[in-house]
Amino acid sequence: MPDCLTTQLPLRLVGGLTSGSIYALIALGYTLVYGVLQLINFAHSEVFMGGSLAGLLALEALTHHGAQTNAIFLFVALIPGMLAGGVVAIALERFAYRPLRRRGAARLSYLISAIGASLLLSNIVLLWRGRNFENFPATVAPVPILTLGNVQIYNRQIIIVVAMLIMTAGLDIFVRTSRAGKGIRAVAQDPETAGMMGVDINRVITVTFLLGGLLAGAAGVLYGMFFGVTRFDVGFIPGIKAFTAAVLGGIGNIRGALVGGLTLGVVENVGAGCCGNQWKDVIAFLVLVGVLMFRPTGLFGEGVGAKA
């Protein structure tokens, strides 16, 4: 047995669950939007980037005024990060997709519009903030607080996993029980009938983008806290990995996004342990190719209404 599957395994699992939680938070946005519009919002990675940048700016503003950052500031940064994510997501829907929807455009037009919007947003940030990585002001100092066998689990990893679980549970409850949540599920199952029952479809779509944006914005801030940096293209790799996670879990399915995110995180981390870290992205995208080839409906292949 190679040591990546024995002694190294616990360490890889913990790392995998941490990055997997970030993928899951982003994947929820892909899956929600797909559920109501059958559209992959390929500009969703910029929503994540926007959240991360807003968190950074908020923390910089606070440290600029002489405040000593500490763990509390993570929560302070999460608020602008989530709001920014929500705003970017709603703006995308409004300007990149809604005009196409009005005209009943073909699927390919949405994809091109998404790529265009993504390039536009990341280049605006490139021009504004430059191309160097910016340091994310420290919030939570890394402290090992749990030891499982030979592996230490850090407070930051636990924060990420717990934050993801809380937000996913909150989303699940919202979609299952709230009036807007019922509207989302109705539109996902049958938009025409939902309209005939009194659901304002445009409003449901806006709420859906907002929810996905809030979660991706939070993921952007958590990412900044954990990796300590952000810049214009920070959303690219997490974005496509989260897309992979959503497909792996079964696009359109909320629980699928959660399971898909965690699974992908674990698989790529354990795989990287066996093959070397430089293979991490290769492994993740092999998973994508494999799922698309052999089980395109993913692990839980059904609509968002099923589990939500």
Partner: protein
């Protein structure tokens, strides 16, 4: 006093005109039926009243207000709700959630008496409350579709082929319930292929062929009309 009035309504799918300038009125408290064969434009007409399709050109007036440019959800708010063709139950929602969707335009939790009204008409739904809509039988789904529309407290109920695919015994039952709903004060526009039942239930009827109204009269008179007998009642 007419509650609904369609005037010279045309509806097209791309280059194909499915409804070619129909006009009809429904008076408050009536049951009016629109009968015709497959592809005659019945469903398109109902969808256009509900705002799913657009009249171009044409005007639709409900309760003295033009509704032909309103989005569906605004039309429901004004008191027009539909049990669509094929029932269109939300398959992965429970029976209760489907009923709640009917009340979506009402804001807030629907009052108990609204559920009770539906359960009185369709007692079987009470036993199926937590069952997923997609697992109901065809007849139960039809009851749920009508019950769901009633949850919107409509002043005008649009029914699109409520008898489709149902066993004869069930058809009788559905039509007697339709009469009951009407007696409770709801105006009904009923689209049917089952002309016999529809004309026995309605007070007035329109016959639609290839997107045009070819006959209109009191239902009792249409039942004895030679052309109707020949084309829709299966009599020589």
């Amino acid at each position: 006093m007419s509650i609904l009035e369609l005037q010279d309504v045309h509806v097209s799918y791309g280059n194909i005109e499915a409804v070619k300038g129909i006009s009809l009125t429904v008076d408050e408290g009536e049951i009016v039926t629109l009968i015709g064969g497959n592809g005659a434009g019945k469903t398109t007409t109902l969808k256009t009243i509900s705002g799913v399709r657009r009249a171009a050109p044409g005007t639709i007036v409900f309760d003295e207000e033009r509704i032909d440019h309103m989005p569906s959800h605004e039309i429901v708010k004004r008191g027009v709700c539909q049990a669509p063709e094929g029932r269109r139950i939300f398959p992965r929602m429970s029976v209760r959630e489907n009923l709640d969707m009917g009340a979506y335009s009402q804001k807030g939790t629907p009052p108990t008496e609204d559920y009770e009204r539906v359960f009185t008409l369709f007692p079987v739904l009470r036993d199926r409350l937590s069952q997923a809509g997609g697992t109901l039988s065809g007849g139960e789904q039809q009851m749920l579709a009508i019950g769901r529309a009633l949850m919107a407290r409509p002043r005008l109920l649009l029914l699109d082929e409520p008898s489709m695919g149902l066993a004869p015994m069930f058809v009788e039952k559905i039509f007697s319930i339709i009469r009951e709903i009407n007696e409770q004060g709801t105006t009904i526009l009923l689209v049917e292929q089952n002309a016999q039942m529809a004309l026995q239930t309605a007070s007035r009827g329109y016959v639609i062929e290839s997107g045009e109204i070819v006959l209109e009269d009191r239902a009792a008179k249409l039942l004895t009309d030679e052309r109707v007998k020949k084309a829709y009642l299966g009599e020589a």
